[in-house]
């Protein structure tokens, strides 16, 4: 499966939020732990709404959590 051109800092932000677990983040954004893991590993690109929810949990703007990675 092709890698998505979107990078994220969720792992880092969870660490900075006192080692927040994937389960806790999943609970706060209304998703499953497996979906949070897939987003974190860059295997799944969340919807805009989910991306904003994640950013709000960490109190960060969207672009501080997700970044577009040029493919070339």
């Amino acid at each position: 499966m092709a890698r998505l051109p979107i990078a994220n800092r969720i792992r880092r932000l969870r660490f900075e939020a006192g080692e927040m677990t994937q389960q806790e983040l999943a609970r706060r954004i209304g998703m499953t732990r497996q979906t949070v893991a897939a987003i974190e590993q860059g295997k799944y690109a969340p919807s805009l709404e989910a991306a904003f929810r994640i950013a709000r949990v960490f109190g960060q703007p969207l672009e501080a959590v997700f970044q577009w990675v040029d493919e070339d």
């Binding site: 499966m1 209304g30 998703m31 499953t32 497996q34 979906t35 893991a37 897939a38 590993q41 295997k43 799944y44 969340p46 919807s47 989910a50």
Partner: protein, 144 residues
């Protein structure tokens, strides 16, 4: 393993086991391709598949209560949608392919009888369901 992946495994194994045995019996000549006995076996197979799926899903849900109770999120809905798309094409190809083979080859007798055409259609539906379960499992395995 997420509850919904387990659920897809249950569906896959039950459908393959129950309807594999049913169509296997017809293809090996242990059951005639048409008739009351075959129809009775079909009803028994449908009942067995339904009961087995419900029973196994209840057990799986009891082993992972919170996972089973949680509503589907957007990724899980997308996985199911994409798997349903795969199943649609499998159904289309299997049903039309099966009809073509039945109508244009002597494989199922010439001309094919109505119950035989019904069996071909049923096989296409079972194949589509198996394809759907497989597509769900593959997507969960890939983590996508």
């Amino acid at each position: 393993m997420p509850f919904r992946e387990k659920s897809a495994w249950i569906s896959l194994l039950v459908m393959l086991g129950v309807f594999g045995a049913y169509f296997g019996a017809i293809l090996t000549g242990r059951l005639p391709p048409a008739g009351l006995v075959t129809f009775r076996y079909l009803l028994m197979s449908v009942a067995a598949a339904s009961l087995l799926q419900v029973a196994l899903r209840v057990i799986a849900a009891m082993l992972a209560r919170s996972d089973a109770r949680a509503p589907k999120d957007e990724r899980e809905r997308l996985i199911e949608l994409k798997a349903t798309e795969v199943a649609f094409y499998v159904l289309l190809v299997a049903a039309l392919g099966g009809m073509f083979v039945a109508l244009h080859t002597p494989l199922f007798g010439h001309p094919p009888r109505l119950p035989t055409m019904g069996l071909v259609t049923l096989a296409a539906v079972i194949l589509a369901d198996v394809a759907r379960s497989l597509a769900i499992i593959v997507r969960y395995r890939l983590g996508a």
